[in-house]
């Protein structure tokens, strides 16, 4: 490929991979069985130039390749409030990736698609929450890939044999013990993004191992831990003993070495929870759910909590999800239930990336640690973090309402 026998685009892609492999100290490349691309989100002309150069020179992906969110909701284009030039550039970028043979999944939760990587598969995934889910929950193997390198791996079907692809780099490096956290809190969804936020802040780029979680913690809860930890830290993988596939026991997760143990206290979790809010105002302008993209089960929970009630007309309520999941819930009739309740479904993008919210009066509320982490900087809004139950009750009431009792010591 480097010699140009497979065309100029493959040669360019391979040259970028080899240059990265050299600086990572990789001694070889390995075959991958799939890729997930984050470069399809528009951040400037250079990203478009790269994609159009590859596509224009005939590049096609060699392995099944899914696409992360873009800046636009193609199914609900009227939601976009940004400028026309940026929209056109973003559309051109999306078209270039489609032309290269990528699947138009437009989701940050490719692990919710029917066809997803299996245990032990080598893949090249980009987007921090997708990476941490693939490594931790699926037991597939991807390094922390990002812009440019993701599509280069997809085009060549190769990746550097380094980083999280290798056994020796997948062992736990720091233990978090949550066994003193009350069972009642651990029985609630809201505990998990907060645990993840705390993990990321303390672990940094080390691989955390959690002990003391209920056995077989659900994928949605593991997803919440991972996406939060990959925002507040640079966590690319974690283990949850008894729940994730490479951690049947603590010994299996850390290997033959001693690692530091952090006991997680309720003070730690309350502090982490408080870091996820920038305001104590009760004036509610918007509620944003679905970061990462909600699963069918999470949307089912939302429908259940709404219980036929309607969101206050002064509150803009959104839930983001993938178009595949949106299709699934429309078969169940939940799309019309959500529409009747005043909840707008957003597909293909995320409300923290693109001008959808518009100017709101009051704070934006979310159940996502990742949304809470990025939205204040990206959108200039004040955020209040709460449980999905808090978010629904607040949306219906038209003001912020949070149940603080769940955060008591016992």
């Amino acid at each position: 490929m480097l010699s140009g026998d497979d065309g100029p685009a493959t040669m360019l892609a391979m040259r970028v991979i080899v240059r990265l492999a050299e600086i990572m100290g990789a001694e070889a490349l390995l075959d991958i069985s799939g890729a997930h691309i984050d470069s399809c989100l528009y951040h400037g002309e250079a990203g478009l130039d790269f994609a159009e150069r590859l596509a224009g020179e005939g590049a096609r992906v060699r392995v099944p390749t899914t696409l992360n969110v873009s800046s636009l909701d193609l199914l609900h284009p009227e939601l976009y409030r940004g400028d026309a030039h940026t929209r056109d550039q973003a559309l051109a970028l999306m078209a270039a990736y489609e032309e290269m043979g990528c699947q138009t999944t437009w989701t940050c939760a490719p692990y919710q698609l029917d066809d997803r990587p299996k245990f032990g598969d080598h893949i090249a995934w980009a987007e921090s929450n997708a990476i941490v889910f693939a490594n931790s929950v699926l037991g597939a193997r991807t390094h922390r890939y990002g812009d440019f390198i993701d599509i280069c791996c997809a085009i060549t079907g190769r990746a550097p044999a380094a980083g999280l692809h290798l056994d020796e780099n997948r062992r736990g490096e720091v233990v978090f013990d949550v066994s003193t956290i009350p069972e009642r809190l651990l029985s609630l969804d809201v505990a998990y993004p907060v645990i993840g936020h705390h993990l990321g802040r303390v672990a940094g780029s080390r691989i955390p191992v959690i002990v003391g979680l209920p056995p077989s913690t659900s994928e949605d809860r593991l997803k919440a831990i991972g996406s939060a930890a990959a925002s507040s830290g640079t966590v690319g993988m974690f283990h949850a003993v008894g729940s994730t596939p490479e951690a049947p026991t603590l010994e299996a997760a850390v290997g033959a070495r001693s690692v530091a143990v952090n006991s997680v206290s309720m003070e730690d979790l309350r502090a982490a929870r408080d870091q996820l809010s920038t305001s104590t105002s009760n004036t509610l302008g918007a509620v944003s759910l679905g970061t990462p993209h909600y699963s069918v089960a999470e949307l089912g929970r939302l429908v259940e909590l709404l219980d036929g009630r309607r969101v206050d007309p002064a509150v803009h309520a959104y839930t983001s999800t993938g178009r595949d999941v949106a299709m699934e819930i429309s078969l169940r009739g939940w799309d019309s239930v959500l529409a009747a309740a005043g909840v707008q479904i957003v597909t293909d993008t995320c409300t923290y990336l693109t001008p959808i919210l518009g100017s709101i009066e009051g704070v934006a509320m979310t159940d996502s640690a990742k949304w809470a982490y990025y939205a204040p900087g990206n959108l200039g809004v004040d955020v209040v973090f709460g449980s999905i139950e808090d978010c629904v009750e607040s949306a219906v009431a038209g003001e912020v309402r949070r149940d603080h009792t769940v955060w008591a010591d016992a």
Partner: protein, 134 residues
Amino acid sequence: MVVAGDASGAVLALDEPLSFWGGFESETGTIIDQAHPQVGECLAGRVVTMTVGRGSSSASTVLAEAIRRGTAPAALVMTELDEIIALGAIVAEELYALTMPVVIVDEVTMAAVAGAASATIHAAGSITLDPQLS
């Protein structure tokens, strides 16, 4: 060197790591992260020292875009390899034939570069320091 090349410029020593995505504006080359102690400083054409990278992988594209526009640092001097920054510089070189050298140095060299007024990076890997602005 992570990305080899010749460059020189006035030194700007960053007190904290900068996330190019969200913390830096490629149109002007300035730091826009309100929480960064050097918010408002312009990186364009400077030899910038920064110990480690920070933040989202989208920083690769933002850095490549700054190199294309001519608003990027003249060179980056770091103590730890950052693949995201390296990729931005590699792709800009492949696409536009514009080189922004990225050099990894030890902490002693880092402190010396940070304390100089200006620095010249040589493609072979050496760095010449000048206490005065050259």
